[in-house]
């Protein structure tokens, strides 16, 4: 659940964000503190695969946007996680 690329995609799902905004958002919704090197490693990989794109900016703090391919990838990842979450929750309740 702490895969940085998944966290970045989830963070961008509700709107464009620059690096620092992503860090704060991820800390809030996932409780994970991503360092700058880890965050930009994930951004590099996601941009190379076409899942996010950098928007033009006059500031050094460039915002990023989720692409259609990125949204589809995130949905597929969440769909793959859902049965695991459901099964784990059910089994914990029974135990």
């Amino acid at each position: 659940m702490s895969d940085p690329t998944l966290l970045v995609l989830a963070s961008l799902a509700d709107g464009d964000k620059h690096g620092y905004a992503m860090m704060v958002d991820i800390r809030e919704f996932a409780g994970v503190d991503l360092g700058p090197g880890t965050l930009y490693g994930a951004i590099t990989r996601l941009e190379a695969r076409g899942f996010i794109k950098g928007l033009s900016s006059s500031d050094r703090r460039r915002p990023y946007r989720l692409t259609a391919a990125g949204r589809a990838h995130l949905e597929a990842q969440i769909a793959a996680l859902e049965p695991i979450v459901r099964a784990g929750t059910r089994r914990l309740r029974r135990a």
Binding site: H18, G19, Y20, P36, G37, I43, T44, R60
Partner: protein, 249 residues
């Protein structure tokens, strides 16, 4: 102070990466807080980016060279060992060195006539079309016999037929025994010749260790060296291709 250190560490990222993301990362480092965790995280990110940056020629060359060397080592390891028959002879000579008596014994023992006799006796180096040895049988036989000087008075004689000429191990051992017999026989011939001319005796030669079979593995170093060089050349070509195909950062 830690921000300055983090900025220094950012230089470890690949140049294309710094051009594309350097300013953004620097802004994020400034926003993230002046902590050692930030420095450590940027260092880790730079190392991971370097390792995953396969467009760098050095990585492609190194990886291909290591792959080539490994392939060479594996090929040597899986190659069937070459069977050799070896024995050791020792000179009892008044001269402190092997020369010239050693050469005289070798010429006498392994003369053309003697070796041709062994070739005929064991049916060595036969042609594909008959029981007769090939015209170059004597040359091939000489190439398969090696004299290795162990000490000034001790020589190891080995018979290593190549894969095409190799018979069964038992026959090879008998060939080596015959070669040992020729060495002993040379004592008599040389003693007779020296008695005729009345010169000083060249000494005697004896078989120290009887012929035995050994499994002779090829030397791995040449195969590893060739694999390393071929891999490096292939790596250079891969790096050149990747550089040509790589999109502009």
């Amino acid at each position: 102070m830690k921000h300055r250190l983090a900025r220094l560490v950012m230089r470890l990222y690949p140049p294309w990466w710094r051009t594309r993301y350097g300013a953004e990362l620097q802004a994020l480092v400034e926003d993230s807080g002046d902590t050692w965790r930030t420095v450590a995280d940027v260092t880790k990110g730079a190392l991971i980016m370097q390792l995953s940056d396969w467009t760098r020629p050095a990585y492609a060359v190194l990886a291909c060279a290591l792959l080539g060397a490994g392939t060479g080592a594996i090929l040597v390891a899986v190659a069937p060992p070459r069977q050799a028959s070896v024995f050791t002879i020792e000179f009892e000579s008044p001269s402190p060195s092997l020369e010239p008596s050693g050469r005289e014994f070798a010429w006498k023992a392994f003369s053309d006539a003697n070796l041709e006799r062994v070739i005929g006796q064991f049916g060595l180096y036969r042609g594909a079309d008959g029981p007769q040895p090939t015209p170059d049988a004597l040359t091939l036989f000489r190439q398969d016999i090696a004299l290795n000087i162990i000490t000034p008075k001790t020589v190891e004689v080995s018979y290593r037929p190549d894969a095409a000429a190799a018979g069964d191990g038992g026959r090879n051992l008998k060939v080596a025994e015959q070669l040992a017999a020729l060495v002993v026989e040379a004592n008599l011939l040389i003693a007779e010749e020296h008695a005729k001319v009345g010169g000083p005796t060249p000494g005697r030669v004896g078989v120290k260790d009887r012929p035995r079979q050994v499994a002779d593995r090829p030397n791995a170093l040449p195969a590893i060296a060739v694999g390393l060089a071929a891999g490096a050349v292939a790596g250079l070509m891969v790096a050149a291709l990747r550089r040509r195909r790589a999109p502009a950062p």
